[in-house]
């Protein structure tokens, strides 16, 4: 059900781990829905993301999107990182099954949460960054079931 790229990033995830004294840390998702993603950013004085690490509790797609998202923001400026959307993550993975699209939203949200944490810690405002939602499944409508 997964593409080769998803399987690759799931079985050999890039950038797994933690960063001590990270510039920004963001954790999103919740255990109820079965996926939690945490992203650590190491951002230098020029606002370039020097290093990025992640930890994820979730399905194969959740791990793969975390891994791909970290690859896409590494070495980028915080403004470039802000442009990494869930669509970009999905495209980089050659697509996700429809039921797993929320995983890519989670990856986007985790990066935003880490950037938000960085901005708060350094008392700066990042143009275009909104306070991340604590639960990305909020507002999602349940599919109507027919009997």
């Amino acid at each position: 059900m997964y593409t080769e790229k998803v399987m690759d990033h799931f079985t050999n995830p890039r950038n797994v781990g933690e960063i001590e004294n990270a510039s920004g840390v963001g954790t999103v998702g919740n255990a109820k829905c079965g996926d939690i993603m945490r992203i650590y950013l190491d951002i230098d004085e020029n606002q370039i993301i020097q290093d990025v690490k992640f930890k994820t509790f979730g399905c194969g797609a959740a791990v793969a999107t975390s891994s791909m998202a970290t690859e896409l923001v590494k070495g980028k400026s915080i403004y470039e990182a802000l442009q990494v959307t869930n669509k970009a993550v999905m495209e980089a993975l050659d697509g996700l099954p429809p039921v797993k699209v929320h995983c890519s939203l989670l990856a986007e949200e985790a990066i935003h949460a880490a950037l938000w944490d960085y901005a708060e810690k350094h008392d700066i405002k990042i143009e275009g960054l909104e306070k991340p939602k604590s639960d990305i499944h909020e507002g999602e409508e349940e599919e109507a079931e027919e009997y």
Partner: protein, 407 residues
């Protein structure tokens, strides 16, 4: 196709499969297939036809019905063939509730039934029937006092599964049957997981209706039955010809029925040996996993469970990841994780036994067969240890837990 992809595919082809998902379906035994084969190309007649050529098909169906009846201590004519377990469950509930409308509109079942029961109950509720869903304890066993207290003058039917498909827990069927009889309530059991694995006696256990499926006991897919005790005025499921005593019309699935009969004959003959062998291997698996993988719990009753079922929850990790990793090692297993079902909620069974969401998500079901070897189980345990450790390393929940411990 890239070379790397090709190479992986080739490796997969060579890889030995360790099949530990026998609660999902089982291998059709070669003896069963052999028994079925003549009924496709040689003995293809319609059992309802008059001529001698077709009579042998009628006989074959009758023989299978007798084999199955014997296995349950039921008269052969009380066995009604269906296309499977879900059909039998649907039929039992809908038809009984409709037929006994004059008595009442209340049905009692449990929170851990298969969806073939639960979704039928939801449908019945929409039609105006009332349903009580009994709780289960931490092992997944229904509370008989709650059952007794739930019975109303309007209660028509109690439906409780014989053994749970996820956690393997067996229910006190004989006691439930006695309670139903005492209160003049019908008793149906979904025995899809238990039939052919455990001895069942519908008379001694006071079972009025019982559902079962062929492919769970090394028979073919697409065939099941509903046992309906003589005297129950159940509505017909399919109207048409006179097949299945007019209750389920349609030309019989003769090869399926013959295969089912053969599978039951083999299952009954080998039941004691199979139970003993599987139980030993299951207990070995459970003991080793609990001892060698920390922060792991066994779901379901420790001993009072299906001989071939083990269900674990590994804290801090998610089930689908675990399944894919196991698959890459050639191990076929199953999980109560939400991600495997496409919904966001984990298994209703694991939630009903009181597991918090994050632990329910990290569950793994391994179901053995009589062909499962100790070597396969040893290999699986070694792989599990490595995979669980690897996934925990990646888990923010585990990170938080470790940091908390250090404090």
């Amino acid at each position: 196709m890239t070379d790397c992809y090709k190479e992986r595919k080739e490796n997969e082809m060579e890889k030995k499969i360790i099949y530990l998902d026998n609660a999902a379906t089982t291998k059709t035994k070669p003896e069963v297939v052999e028994a079925m084969l003549p009924y496709f190309t040689e003995k293809f007649g319609n059992p309802s036809s008059v001529y001698g050529f077709a009579a042998q098909n009628k006989e074959a169906v009758t023989e299978a019905r007798e084999q199955i009846g014997k296995a349950l201590n039921a008269p052969a004519q009380d066995i009604y063939f269906t296309a499977g377990g879900s059909e039998a469950d649907n039929w039992a509930l809908k038809a009984a509730m409709e037929a006994y409308k004059d008595k009442g509109n209340h049905l009692i079942t449990t929170k851990i039934e298969h969806h073939a029961i639960l979704h039928t109950c939801e449908y019945l509720e929409k039609q105006g029937f009332e349903v009580t869903y009994l709780d289960v304890d931490e092992n997944g066993v229904v509370d008989l006092n709650q059952l007794k207290a739930s019975i109303r003058p309007t209660t028509v039917l109690i439906s409780v599964m014989y053994a749970n498909n996820e956690i393997g827990t067996l229910q006190p069927i004989r006691e439930i049957g006695a309670i139903a009889k005492e209160h003049g309530v019908l008793f149906h059991t979904d025995a899809v997981q238990a039939f052919g694995q455990l001895p069942i006696d519908v008379v001694a256990e006071n079972i009025d209706m019982l559902s079962a499926s062929g492919h769970k006991l090394n028979g073919p897919k697409g065939i099941g039955f509903l046992y309906i005790r003589k005297g129950l005025k159940l509505r017909s499921l399919i109207h048409g010809g006179g097949q299945e005593r007019k209750r389920r019309a349609g030309t019989e699935n003769v090869p399926g029925i013959v295969g089912f009969g053969k599978a039951v004959e083999l299952a009954v003959a080998g039941m004691d040996a199979k139970m003993k062998q599987e139980t030993e291997l299951r207990d070995y698996l459970i003991t080793r996993v609990l001892a060698e993988i920390p922060y792991t719990r066994l779901n379901g009753h420790r001993t009072n469970r299906l001989p071939n079922n083990a269900n674990f929850s590994f804290q801090f990790i998610e089930g689908e990841s675990l399944l894919i990793m196991l698959d890459m090692k050639g191990i076929c297993a199953s999980s109560g994780s939400a991600c495997t079902s496409g919904s966001l909620d984990p298994s209703h069974v694991l939630l009903a036994i009181g597991l918090p969401h994050e632990i329910a998500h990290g569950s793994l079901r391994l179901t053995l067969s009589e062909e499962t070897t100790k070597e396969e189980i040893d290999f699986t345990i070694e792989q599990l240890k490595a995979i669980v450790a690897n996934l925990r390393n990646m888990s923010p929940l585990y990170e938080d837990f470790v940091k908390k411990q250090k404090k």
